[in-house]
Symmetry: C2
Subunit: 443 residues, 2 copies
């Protein structure tokens, strides 16, 4: 059977890419690396980050700035050994079927980059260099404060002294640092140069579609503070009946939630700034969002419609079990991959949500009013949830979730409307109309 | 009612962008401009190109190279007047609701670019400069031969002499040409610089999502020769019954078509190069493609599945008219926008096809085996068909269509398998199972 197009619509089996980070310390390289890995994994593309610093730390746990001085032969030897150990593990991982490996290190000299390129090329791995170049002192300091001082290198040290030491470390790298293609002799390399957190990007010699998608994702990242609010629609008449799909109206309690939503949002925003509202094209989400302030732009997305249950649309789980007993069992066995007859799987939903995620990455404050399966997929992206678990997560009705991306990971807050609603969560094998979620199902 | 997300998923009402082409003659500016316009119009985004050369020609129909000499005051005056006339018409068009205007001219000096920027900014129009920079002499000559010598400027002239004159014209532009941000004093501008037809691109200060989508599209264009083959699946059992949707098997004649398809493809390729095969996830397209050579990569796309007829899936048109008489009439009144209950409209299909188009632009030789409505939408993109007409086009079964993009427009060839099949075309108001298409319905 022919392979299915994955999330970014490309047959990845034949392509292996090593994304090689380049840049001075405190330029957000690890931030970019972890975002890229999360995005690719969400799309079912096998991606892994290899952080050279972690390899180096096993030998030199708390090195001072001197360690990073080019003149320090011992330091240079150990740093080289760390790079080689990371590369060794990465190549092993590629041989076992890895698709996109991310080499997270400064890779600040041409020699080092050439070594990485030659080593990968020999193994049939494409190399995409991604440089983050930033000369904005305040941004660098913010990065040092937010990220580096919590690094294991400085565990237990005085913050002020640590910051000074880190600055000295950067100076040592600056002595040898060459920006990608600065002298024009790396112009055959495939690279993305991100200047000042995306204010300018240079894209050189992108060779295939998968590279272009990684590049497009990375060029859309920004670090301006923002949040994403997620809510399911208010309780619907179908929810009351335990029916899936359809385009039902809200129940009385669902309407109460719609009325309360503006207050929940206001309280969670913290200051007076307008959000953008995204709903699906189905009545129950549009209706739920209808009392939000008029100065909030509203947009309906077909891509936010509920997972299409195909021939099972409008049925209860008991009816599905009665009419399609084999499908009922198959779905429980692999809920992420099971595709309803004439409908969709969770995997299909992730594919159609990819442009939504891309626009979310570019955007600032957005509130999304959508459906259970859709919310699970979006939540899994931000919170890095496993695909086998995410279709079983409990996402309660009448609850507003606020997600705030930070340098490492995403912060979550919940705001309950305190309006009762049925549970639409369902345990494996169950055909109950409404049942209480088990403890492990909570997201 | 909240606006619907359009094809590229963004609410464009508030955004107006002037795409300002920059570059020496024969660098493919008009090619880029017409591609961008076609893509945006296909996505229902109101886009229009304003070609300054056309304005200049009304006053100076066949100017010699001297006309473009900076020292020629009369020439400069007229060229300035042409730019002003184009700008005037473009602003008028924006005031009437235009969304993306493309100013197609060399705009080769900083002064001219500043004038365009200031004029647009005053009207609340964002400016995106798009420069095509190319020093590859053979590419420039190919462009002169293919495009410029057929330009109205040289109508009726000796080709050799015309080429020489055109070269002299370029020299005159080179005297004053400044690449975007060459001196670093245009670094606040939003721009895309395309070097040597995409081998390197620089993207500077992209400000919003619509800009980023235009940029992403333009950076994916290439000019390597290639073709796209389109075929519907072979005749299906549902086709025989006059039923829509479903996931039926092929009829006997449909299987015959599948067997003949490799031969049709081979004859149309012309030389021995493997294609990539894209099908939908439905049986009838996979089955149709199953005899294609094994060295052709095959890929299944959910995005290529037939338009979802929702509650009408599996019905004949007579049944639809009986059960949903109002819907039947509404669909015929506006077939492009009508969305089946619980299903899709043609407009929805275009939205989900957008990533397909993007990948098609990046790719080389692809054969797509898909469904009537999907093929109509893809065909409309390449052949610039009107949205109100495209849902009524006749796309015969058992026919291979080969499309070859050229500098201006797309060439089409047809290869009939000579295997009879029912007609699935339907005229407005008709409920016939099979009827002969009217002459105007042929694509």
């Amino acid at each position: 059977m022919a392979p299915r197009a994955n999330g970014i619509g490309v047959q990845v089996e034949d392509t292996k890419i090593c994304v090689v980070m380049v840049g001075l310390p405190a330029r957000g390289k690890s931030f970019i690396a972890q975002k890229a890995q999360r995005y690719l994994q969400w799309l079912s593309i096998d991606a892994q980050t290899f952080n050279v610093g972690n390899y180096r730390r096993t030998e030199a746990p708390h090195p001072s700035a001197d360690f990073f001085d080019l003149g320090n032969a011992e330091g240079e030897k150990r740093r080289r050994a760390a790079a080689e150990a990371a590369m060794h593990d990465m190549l092993d991982w590629f041989r076992k079927g890895g698709v996109i490996g991310i080499l997270d290190a400064t890779n600040s000299t041409k020699e080092r980059r050439k070594w990485v390129l030659d080593t990968c090329t020999k193994e049939g791995i494409e190399v995409l260099f991604v440089e983050s170049k930033c000369d904005d002192e305040s941004m660098i300091m913010a990065n040092i404060r937010d990220v580096k001082l919590t690094s294991p290198d400085y565990a237990g040290q005085d913050p002020e002294q640590a910051a000074q030491d880190f600055h000295a470390r950067i100076k040592n790298y600056e002595k040898v640092y060459k920006s990608l293609d600065e002298d024009g002799d790396e112009n055959d390399y495939t690279y993305l140069k991100i200047m000042d957190v995306g204010s300018q990007v240079i894209i050189n010699r992108i060779r295939d579609y998968l590279q272009s998608r990684v590049v497009y994702y990375l060029m859309n990242l920004h670090i301006r503070p923002r949040s994403v609010w997620l809510s399911r629609h208010g309780e619907s008449l179908y929810n009351l009946d335990g029916r899936i799909g359809g385009d039902a109206d809200l129940s009385t309690r669902g309407h109460q939630y719609a009325q309360k939503l503006p207050e929940l949002v206001r309280d969670s925003v913290g200051e007076d700034r307008p959000l953008t509202v995204w709903t699906s094209t189905l009545k129950r989400t549009i209706s739920t969002a209808r009392f939000l302030p008029e100065n909030y732009n509203q947009l309906q997305w077909k891509a936010l419609d509920e997972l299409d249950a195909g021939v099972c649309d409008g049925m209860t789980y008991q009816e599905i079990k009665d009419v399609y007993p084999e499908d009922f069992v198959q779905r429980d066995e692999d809920k992420y991959n099971y595709r309803y007859r004439g409908g969709e799987s969770y995997r299909d939903v992730v594919i159609r949500l990819e442009p939504i995620i891309m626009e979310l990455e570019r955007s600032e404050d957005i509130i999304i009013v959508t459906h259970q399966a859709i919310l699970r997929c979006i939540y899994a992206y931000f919170m890095k949830k496993d695909q086998s678990a995410s279709p079983w997560m409990n996402v309660p009705l009448h609850t507003l979730i606020k997600l705030t991306p930070r340098a490492y990971g995403t912060e979550e807050q919940r705001f309950s409307a305190d309006i009762p609603a049925v549970s639409t969560w369902r345990g494996k094998g169950s055909t109950a109309k409404h049942e209480n979620p088990t403890a492990g199902a909570s997201i």
